[in-house]
């Protein structure tokens, strides 16, 4: 036992790194080979996101703000895919914007992955439009409250917003009944709530998908200012399972494409990593108490 404690006390952190690599790689390989994912039971916050989008009638404009970059794409890209998937299936008019400089590229990737691949009948500029990035953070939000076109005067392709059919009837940000943000930090979901939702007097509803770090900070706004919340990859997996089950053809047993299972596939590595963390905390505490007891014995 004492030898085990000695090993624990002097454990090189590279062994921990190796253990983490194995606990993450194992499930990735297993899920990659078998294609099996873990079942998800959606929590009320994920259900709320689904319901808010489902409640909109076809043709309703929705504002989708991609406020993240590829660094947090592991958590947020599956959410973006599922959110756009549901909006496209519902026939909503999607207006994409970004308050992060790398957001427009992520919007283009999502459009390519979901809309161009599975909804080729949707027309750019009519059913969806990418307005690109605008610098200014909260100030852009404030300008959108009074004049949307001043905040985003042209699309990413350089077309004046006045000529874009998808923006018909949009003068101010509160002309959108629903705002969907995918947020990795500042500016993000919190700023949207503080500067737009609280100023709109309840005209706009908002749902968000955010990183795990942001999630605890957004719970205080749910369900009054924030109508739905997808927290980290777990929230993404719950929402993804909801969207997939609702969009799956009733009379078909065709497999769901892998791109619509990304979040659920990533729950496997998350399980491995969480179990390892718990094991490491327990082992660390065993070493700590053994060391403390030996010190007490030595002094007495």
């Amino acid at each position: 036992m004492s030898k085990f404690i000695t090993i624990l006390e002097g454990l090189d952190r590279r062994w921990i790194f190796l253990a983490m690599a194995i606990s993450v790689a194992g499930p990735i390989l297993y899920i990659g080979i078998t294609g099996k994912t873990l079942p998800e039971t959606p929590t009320p916050t994920a259900r709320a996101v689904y319901k808010e989008i489902e409640a909109l009638s076809p043709g309703t404009p929705v504002l989708l703000s991609f406020d993240f970059d590829p660094a947090s794409g592991g958590e947020l890209t599956p959410m973006a895919t599922s959110l756009v998937h549901q909006c496209a299936a519902r026939g909503l008019r999607m207006v994409f914007i970004a308050l992060w400089p790398l957001g427009p590229q992520l919007i283009d990737e999502t459009i390519k992955r979901v809309i161009l691949a599975d909804y080729p009948n949707l027309k750019e500029g009519v059913d969806y439009v990418n307005l690109g990035f605008q610098s200014g953070n909260e100030s852009v939000m404030k300008v959108m409250l009074t004049d949307f076109a001043k905040a985003f005067p042209i699309t990413k392709n350089g077309v004046a917003v006045g000529d874009v059919v998808a923006l018909k009837g949009i003068q101010r940000v509160d002309n959108f009944p629903l705002l969907i943000t995918i947020s990795a930090g500042y500016p993000g979901a919190k700023e949207w709530i503080q500067y737009v939702i609280s100023s709109s007097g309840g005209k706009i509803k908002m749902v968000t998908g955010c990183t795990g770090v942001q999630t605890p900070g957004l719970y205080p706004y749910y369900p009054v200012q924030l109508n739905g919340l997808l927290g980290a990859i777990k929230g993404a997996a719950e929402y993804e399972s909801l969207v997939n089950s609702s969009l799956a053809p009733k009379d078909s047993s065709a497999a769901v494409p892998a791109k619509y299972l990304e979040a659920q596939r990533r729950m496997g590595p998350q399980l491995g990593a969480h179990l390892l963390m718990i094991a490491l905390i327990i082992l660390g505490n065993i070493a700590f108490f053994a060391q403390r007891n030996s010190k007490v014995r030595a002094t007495s």
Binding site: F17, L38, Q105, N137, T146, P220, I278, G284
Partner: protein
């Protein structure tokens, strides 16, 4: 006059810009008649924010060039940063390798800088995305190492923190369902996945709301000090 001018430009002008812009934004939130003024200030801010990118680029070049010229420790990294920065800037601004836009075929440089096949698009897809994703993924390794060394049940508070962490860690994965899924419906509140949600919605929300209210009060006080010209530390002085 010679001594007074820098003081006016460096201290008084920025202070009055901040005071006027701050009051305009404040009033525009309460009086609809001043809404357009607030909008104008917002637009000015957006333009300044765009110019800040140029300032940031200049600052990046200045800091790294100074490191290289002094041969500071790790100056090679500074050189790599500058080379990468220069390459990205040139291929982005020059739209090198960008295919012509199908929408505006007669206009030169009308293609998108990050279009498929462009060098900028290649840098984004094959350099930026893997690098940033890798940096983020490394967190898992460091968090695991830190958990092993620092997460100790030293006292009651630490034990409570540890228990909460275990519930949330298990409840946010399928392990929670496996471990406590057998509990009957009348005790479903004790299932790990439900306990995890309960912790986030009740304890976390209560604590976070207290923090948010405290921050809001602090922001109000600091904003008032800036608006009234009492706090000038944002100008980089020790006032």
């Amino acid at each position: 006059m010679a001594e007074g001018s820098p003081r006016i430009m460096k201290r008084l002008v920025p202070m009055w810009i901040a005071i006027i812009a701050g009051f305009v934004m404040l009033l525009s939130a309460f009086f609809p008649i001043t809404e357009s003024l607030g909008e104008t200030v917002g637009e000015i801010f957006n333009v300044v924010a765009a110019i800040a990118f140029v300032l940031g680029a200049g600052s990046l070049a200045k800091v790294n060039l100074a490191k290289i010229s002094r041969r500071d420790q790790g100056w090679g990294y500074a050189a790599i940063t500058l080379i990468c920065f220069a390459i990205t800037l040139v291929v982005g601004l020059g739209k090198i390798g960008v295919p012509q836009s199908t929408q505006f075929p007669l206009l030169g440089w009308s293609g998108e800088k990050d279009a498929e096949g462009s060098i900028f698009g290649w840098i984004y897809e094959f350099a930026l995305v893997p690098i940033t994703s890798t940096m983020f993924a490394l967190l898992a390794f460091y968090v695991a190492s830190a958990a092993f060394r620092a997460f100790r049940a030293k006292n009651l508070e630490a034990i409570l923190l540890l228990s909460t962490a275990f519930i949330v860690l298990l409840g946010r994965t399928f392990a929670g369902v496996v471990l406590t899924g057998w509990l009957p419906d009348w005790a479903s509140g004790l299932r790990l996945e439900n306990l995890s949600v309960y912790i986030m919605q009740v304890f976390n929300t209560a604590g976070n709301r207290a923090i948010i209210i405290g921050i809001a009060l602090g922001v109000t006080a600091t904003s008032l000090r800036i608006l009234l010209g009492v706090d000038r530390s944002w100008m980089g002085s020790g006032d």
